[in-house]
Symmetry: C2
Subunit: 230 residues, 2 copies
């Protein structure tokens, strides 16, 4: 086949990053799959999802990075057991407590270091701005600013684009695209809280379940509760 | 005294970050000292310098973060023993092998996460563009772009400035300023290579020694060799 282009792909093991990986593979990039654990509650389950996706897609270049400092720094329900994860609420205007301060800046910096060393010219991240929890580090404007910072802070011959193919998509359309690309949704994990059965009531479960529902499809994951979000 | 402002200060334990810390303390900020080890060759010695500086300045808020992924990712003589550290050369035009790909992006992301959680409004970094090795992530344009990325990727109420007070200074002027501020240079460490006596011939030693020489001052550190750089 002969891939001329290389891409680092941030893969949490969730639905969005799995669809993103499928897009990248479809576009004939050589893929460098990057998974970052940060002592978040569901770390083991997400890592398993990442490994199973890599194995499903026969990804040869993968890197697992474990950073514990986001937990030390705290400030988020995802890393501090004492902060409760709020129930999903599609009307919420505030930034939810699950926001991990500047997490995506940290993830993209790691991706940029790896991309520069392996001469990749793209970093893919499955961030969603439209149909999301409203995290500031998932906005298009953030990725544009960060791309500029990467190119100002690396060698002249390094030229890295941050690609966010899902940024303006609804969860419904992400599900539909994933189904079209044959994404093994049964291997992915999105829940913030639980690791055996998904809780069904955190933001991440709610957005996912609503996406499947609107797409008229069945989510293959098992849920503790499956509220009707419509 | 009553500090109204908080600042995260990146402190490697080197001369430049020690002078930067002295500036911050002088400006009456509440200081949050951040030290990051990344499995670089002189990690233990730099950590000791950081701790001794914190204790000298009676810094109460400090955070030591250890990241090993920059070594895993590689691409730099500072983390790969198989890549030799080149001798200092003030005429060199190439980016030296000691450049750690996008290191400062990684460091600033960690600083930004901490700054957001503790409500600091500034991150200080002792980067020098003028009289330096020419690392791309030490340029003013990089810090400007990164500051924008931080503010696009954090909460609306978070407003963080990246402060680079030394960016346009010569090493001579940094030494003079440090002496004026009473910086305990004997506690700092700059050498890339050695941990007991400084090597005197890596870029970092050379820039430091030339700075002291031009300032007409004596560097209190012990060197294996002390070439005359003028």
């Amino acid at each position: 086949m002969g891939n001329s282009r290389k891409a680092v792909v941030l893969m949490s093991g969730g639905m969005d990053s799995a669809v993103t990986a499928a897009i990248v593979i479809n576009q004939n990039y050589e893929i460098f799959a990057l998974h970052i654990t940060y002592e978040q509650r569901t770390q083991e389950r997400e890592l398993r999802a990442f490994k199973e996706l890599c194995s499903y897609y026969k990804i040869e270049n993968s890197l697992i990075v474990s950073i514990d400092y986001l937990k030390k720094i705290g400030g988020s329900a995802l890393v501090e057991p004492s902060i409760e994860i709020e129930l999903a609420n599609f009307e919420r205007k505030m930034i939810p407590r699950t926001y991990v301060p500047f997490r995506n800046g940290n993830l993209l910096s790691i991706a940029a270091s790896w991309a520069e060393v392996v001469s990749a010219n793209a970093i893919f991240i499955g961030a969603v701005e439209a149909d999301s929890s409203g995290y500031p580090d998932c906005r298009k404007s953030f990725f544009e600013a960060f791309e500029k910072a990467i190119n100002e802070g690396t060698k002249p011959e390094t030229n890295i684009k941050i690609m966010t193919p899902l940024i303006n998509m609804s969860k419904k359309d992400i599900v539909l695209l994933g189904l079209e690309l044959g994404v093994p949704f049964e291997l992915t994990w999105s829940c913030y809280k639980e690791i055996e059965f998904a809780c069904g009531e955190c933001d991440s479960c709610a957005l996912r379940l609503r996406g499947f529902q609107q797409a008229g499809a069945e989510d293959p994951l098992k849920y503790l509760r499956k509220p009707n979000y419509l």
